[in-house]
């Protein structure tokens, strides 16, 4: 009886952010354990886990940006479009215009920056609804991708391809292949970038004033104003960082696919939002955690893998899976919110 009581009180006194984070991590661990137990050999290899990271490095970055904006109570659905635009623009720059790799990174950052400045200004200072601004941003980016170059193509530039194929080995982790050789597990460069971003954003949200202001503005805009926080500037910065991260994530995506195409990152914004929600970021703002978002991305990918392994490997099933997970977590969030009003 004593033990039960203290667990209940611990849960009750936890902050919303922490509670949702715990739920997310538990769900992920359970899912991965399920996969390991029931779906067998593939999941037991460390490389599978590394591949999840490889496939989703860009998504991790995009989701971090998305979480930031969601914590302030806003949303940005242009990130997928920006990713595609960055891919195409950089591809054209490198192959058709003979640009350098560094230059292409600069282009990616520039696109993200411009988007952030424009959308941030409209949302924060003109007080236009973020959804409609970013919806327009998304459509503009998708359209521009085709305008930049009508046909999809692979980048042939050697320096770039070399960069793309670089493998970062993880010492000590690996598995034995058919020939009996030990192959080190590896990740791509993009994963390293993504992990750095996750750590940076975590520090930002936890230890900087501006980061905490995000939570305040998302929690109660009116109070934040009265407490002396510059609400407009806070929102502006949130959208700015999100778009810049979209630019960076776009470049990571570009490194992963090595091509430009109008259909890249299709649905990425929804995946980013879903990952954030699964990771414990509340739609209504004020609650969220970068670590949770990271696990949210992993959870999303794991469940897609589980679904595929179980035989439903039509591309259509991913859409439904994401939607169902979104639904479940939205309901969990409503329940957590409801216990608040008691």
């Amino acid at each position: 009886m004593e033990q039960k009581k203290s667990l209940k009180t611990i849960l009750k006194n936890m902050s919303d952010t922490n509670l949702l984070l715990v739920i997310t991590i538990v769900v992920f661990v359970l899912m991965y354990a399920f996969a390991m137990l029931f779906l067998g050999k593939g999941f037991l290899k460390p490389q599978t886990f590394c591949n999840i990271l490889n496939e989703n490095a860009a998504l991790i970055i995009l989701s971090c940006g998305m979480s930031l904006v969601m914590i302030t109570g806003g949303i940005d659905i242009s990130v997928g479009g920006v990713t595609a635009l960055v891919c195409m623009s950089c591809a054209v720059f490198i192959d058709y215009k003979g640009g350098s790799i560094i230059g292409s990174v600069g282009i990616a950052l520039l696109i993200g920056l411009l988007y952030g400045l424009f959308q941030g200004y409209l949302v924060a200072y003109l007080e236009i609804q973020p959804f409609i601004v970013s919806l327009a941003g998304m459509f503009f980016a998708r359209g521009m991708t085709t305008i930049v170059n009508t046909e999809p193509f692979n980048v042939a530039n050697e320096a770039f391809v070399a960069l793309k194929d670089t493998r970062v080995s993880i010492p000590g982790v690996g598995s034995v292949n058919k020939n009996g050789d030990f192959i080190n597990a590896y990740v791509e460069i993009g994963v390293v970038v993504a992990l750095i971003i996750v750590i940076l954003m975590f520090v930002f949200l936890r230890w900087t004033q501006i980061g905490r202001n995000f939570y305040a503005v998302g929690g109660n805009k009116q109070s934040a104003l009265m407490l002396g926080i510059n609400v407009k500037r806070t929102k502006f910065i949130a959208h700015l960082i999100c778009s810049v991260l979209a630019g960076i994530g776009g470049y990571v995506y570009f490194l992963h696919v090595g091509s430009g195409s109008a259909s890249h990152a299709s649905g990425a914004e929804m995946n980013a939002i879903a990952s954030s929600i699964i990771g414990g970021t509340m739609l209504t703002g004020g609650v969220g955690n970068i670590i949770g978002t990271f696990f949210g991305v992993l959870s999303l990918s794991t469940i897609k893998n589980i679904v595929a392994s179980a035989g439903f490997d039509q591309a259509w099933w991913t859409g439904i899976t994401v939607a169902v997970m979104l639904c479940i977590f939205l309901v969990i969030q409503s329940v957590v919110l409801a216990r608040k009003s008691k």
């Binding site: 609804q129 919806l135 327009a136 503009f140 980016a141 929804m270 739609l283 039509q314 859409g319 439904i320």
Partner: protein, 361 residues
């Protein structure tokens, strides 16, 4: 009490909500007039089956704009009551179309005969679309999720569901009568979607006239708390608007599958949600909910189609279209932002007082 007679002042024209879509239409027409007057040419020709058919860009606008107009009817109501937009309409049209094809073709995707009367297929599609609409409505009204976010779920899953309905096959309907709805009735040269839209517009007109739907949706959208205290049930009203949108989706699904007699799950009604939202916004309706003018939205739909058709005429690729429309959305939305309006009024005042000072001096 005497009623103050409204003077016929020029400013009244500007204040009428219909001004915006009409002005936009005029701008597009004048642009085309200057760029290439053949835009306005209408010729009478014959299609493959030997039926008379009117040709011309204007006819295209009437044809495809009608789909948007039907959608705009439902979207206007949803926007008015819930203060948000439904971005799942494209996916929902895919589902509705898929249901129609499934009913008509049964499990054989190349059947020679219709498995059921077209009207039955349409009614079943209506029911399914209404149910999905209700689903969205419940998320918004009961779980209080923002409409754009709530409809994200169907947006993500809808096309997958549509494909699943037909086991990812692409059924083809071989009955020529099915093509009437998206095409032509032999002997009548005007595209049928226009007539369907006209019927829908008539229906909504009757509903708005003979029920209190208009008053209730506006009341709920403007002040939900006060509406409740007047005996209204905002949950029911909001769900109702989503169901009506569902019915509009079913009609669009019929038209679109009829055009091709088949379906392409990822392409059908792609990006139509953007157009529908634009139609409502261009009609001068507040995207945040409240008062609405249905006719302005319907006109707005045709204006959007005029824009799309004009862009096509100038060889803009369909993939690039969204960029242009995005610009239009941004301009519209910035121009109608309260802060921008306030600043504009201040500037106008300054100019006026500046002028007066000059006159006095």
């Amino acid at each position: 009490m005497e009623r103050v007679k409204q003077r016929f002042v020029i400013s009244n024209i500007f204040r009428n909500q219909l001004f915006i879509p009409i002005a936009a239409l005029l701008i597009i027409f004048i642009f085309n007039l200057i760029a290439d007057p053949t835009f306005f040419k209408i010729t009478l020709g014959y299609n493959n089956a030997g039926n008379p058919l009117l040709n011309g860009y204007l006819i295209t606008i009437l044809d495809y704009g009608s789909e948007l107009a039907i959608l705009a009817i439902g979207m206007t109501l949803v926007t008015a009551a819930s203060g948000g937009q439904d971005i799942s309409v494209g996916a929902a049209i895919a589902i509705a179309g898929s249901v129609i094809l499934r009913v008509l073709c049964g499990s054989n995707s190349r059947s020679e005969e219709l498995q059921a009367p077209i009207i039955v297929a349409f009614l079943i599609a209506c029911v399914v679309a209404a149910l999905f609409g209700a689903f969205n409505g419940v998320l918004v009204a009961v779980f209080k999720i923002q409409p754009m976010v709530a409809t994200l779920i169907l947006y993500t899953a809808g096309r997958s569901i549509a494909a699943w309905i037909n086991n990812n096959e692409l059924p083809i309907v071989n009955d020529v009568r099915f093509t009437y709805f998206g095409g032509l009735i032999p002997g009548i040269p005007i595209p049928v979607p226009f007539f369907i839209a006209a019927i829908c517009v008539a229906i909504i007109f009757l509903i708005l006239k003979f029920t209190t739907l208009g008053l209730y949706t506006q009341a709920v959208g403007i002040n939900e708390r006060a509406a409740k205290l007047n005996g209204l049930n905002p949950v029911v009203i909001k769900i109702l608007t989503f169901v009506i949108l569902g019915l509009c989706v079913a009609v669009c699904g019929l038209i679109k599958t009829s055009r091709l007699s088949t379906i392409n799950y990822s392409v059908i009604a792609k990006d139509i949600e953007m157009d529908a939202i634009l139609a409502v916004a261009l009609g001068g309706n507040a995207l945040g909910g409240g008062k609405f003018n249905m006719w302005a939205s319907i006109l707005g739909a045709y204006v959007i189609q005029a824009l799309t058709t004009t862009l096509y005429k100038f060889n803009v690729k369909s993939n690039a279209l969204p960029a242009y429309k995005a610009v239009v959305v941004i301009i519209l939305v910035v121009a109608s932002a309260p802060i921008v309006r306030e600043k504009a009024q201040e500037i106008v005042k300054k100019i006026k007082s500046g002028k007066m000072e000059k006159e006095v001096a």
